[in-house]
């Protein structure tokens, strides 16, 4: 009986250690993507870091309840989206706070382009395009922005976006279509 209890305790400990190791791997592999999504959504480095930390803290607390119905990335993305929603909801109440603490402005964000071997002209064109897309993204509703970024920055497919946002695929398509119309308009105004 006592030997059985000891064995049980050892098995539990081993299971916990395995789960911890699994979670550590998840953090290591998905943290940059979650941070990138939150940074693109909020355009605030500090806020994106804080929300990323909170996201993984929440994920760690609920790791045992993750049943693997969706990929870990989709599950984490869903947590991140909910945290972001909560943040904006709370922020609307804290109207006296500065809008962003360590915000990246549009010009600064558009500066970030991989150099490669492209010519100066191509770089200028790409910079201009990126600036216009940022402007369009800024003008999108929270939901449209989330869907747009998941599709065109994180390269998630429709079903993953639907799972992460809790929307139907049809609604995701509609949001994407509206977001793209806005980007088109912004790019069209450039010509």
């Amino acid at each position: 009986m006592a030997a059985g209890t000891v064995l049980e305790a050892m098995t539990m400990e081993t299971a916990q250690a395995v789960a911890a190791e699994e979670f550590a791997q998840i953090v290591q592999s998905h943290r940059p993507q979650i941070f990138r999504f939150l940074l693109a959504s909020t355009r605030d480095v500090d806020l994106a870091e804080t929300l990323t930390q909170e996201c993984f803290l929440k994920a760690h607390r609920n790791w045992s309840s993750f049943r693997g119905e969706s990929s870990a990335m989709t599950w984490l993305m869903r947590i991140a989206i909910n945290l972001q929603k909560d943040h904006w909801r709370n922020r609307r109440m804290q109207f006296w706070r500065l809008t962003q603490t360590n915000a990246v402005d549009l010009d600064e964000a558009s500066e970030w382009l991989p150099g490669g071997e492209s010519s100066a002209e191509q770089q200028m064109l790409a910079k201009e395009q990126v600036e216009h897309v940022w402007k369009a993204v800024k003008g999108l509703s929270e939901r449209q922005r989330t869907v747009f970024l998941l599709r065109f920055v994180e390269e998630r497919d429709l079903s993953e976006i639907a799972q992460a946002t809790g929307l139907s695929e049809g609604t995701v398509k509609a949001h994407l279509s509206r977001a793209l119309a806005r980007v088109r308009t912004e790019l069209g105004g450039r010509r």
Binding site: P32, F35, R36, L39, A40, V45, D46, A48, Q94, W96, R97, L98, T101, N102, V104, A109, S110, W112, L113, P114, G115, G116, E117, S118, Q122, Q123, A126, Q129, V130, H132, V133, W134, L149, R151, F152, V153, E155, D157, L158, S159, K173, L176, S177, L180, V183, R184, L187
Partner: protein, 151 residues
């Protein structure tokens, strides 16, 4: 690899994802979206690996929080005091209105009394005038009586 070539490869990758989404993206829009994705990736990578300045930010946040609380308190105090002031003003206005109504009532009463007094005086005057008139109407008869006695 040139930037454009990289873009084309990325576009093909997205186009070939095989999901049921057909957004009908024109080449320029695709190019812009690719450039945007690469830009966000580069920005995120740079921000992710930047050195952290926790102390400075914490300090700044504390000040911001304190300033936020102070502003919040001032606003709350302002709203509360405005409420009290409004209430006080309403009470003063109500008192003034009551005083005014009382004064009007007294003035009306005085006016009524004055009118009654004037009416009484008028009636008294009429009575006295009538009382004086009646004997003078008998005066010719009295004269006749006097003349007869003298004859």
């Amino acid at each position: 690899m040139s930037f454009l070539k990289q873009n084309v490869q990325q576009t093909e990758r997205i186009g070939g994802r095989g999901d049921e989404l057909d957004l009908g993206l024109e080449p320029e829009l695709e190019q812009a979206l690719d450039a945007f994705r690469l830009s966000v990736h580069a920005l995120s990578e740079a921000a992710y690996s930047r050195p952290r300045t926790v102390t400075v930010l914490t300090h700044r946040r504390v000040w911001r929080q304190a300033a936020g609380w102070a502003l919040g308190c001032v606003l709350t105090a302002g709203i509360v005091s405005t409420g009290f002031y409004e209430q006080h003003q309403r009470q003063v206005a109500a008192q003034r209105a009551a005083q005014q109504a009382e004064q009007n009532r007294l003035a009306a009463q005085q006016m009524r009394e004055q009118q009654m007094r004037e009416e009484d005086e008028l009636l008294a005057k009429v009575d006295s005038d009538v009382a004086r008139e009646v004997p003078s109407a008998m005066e010719p008869l009295a004269q006749l009586v006097a003349e007869d006695e003298s004859e």
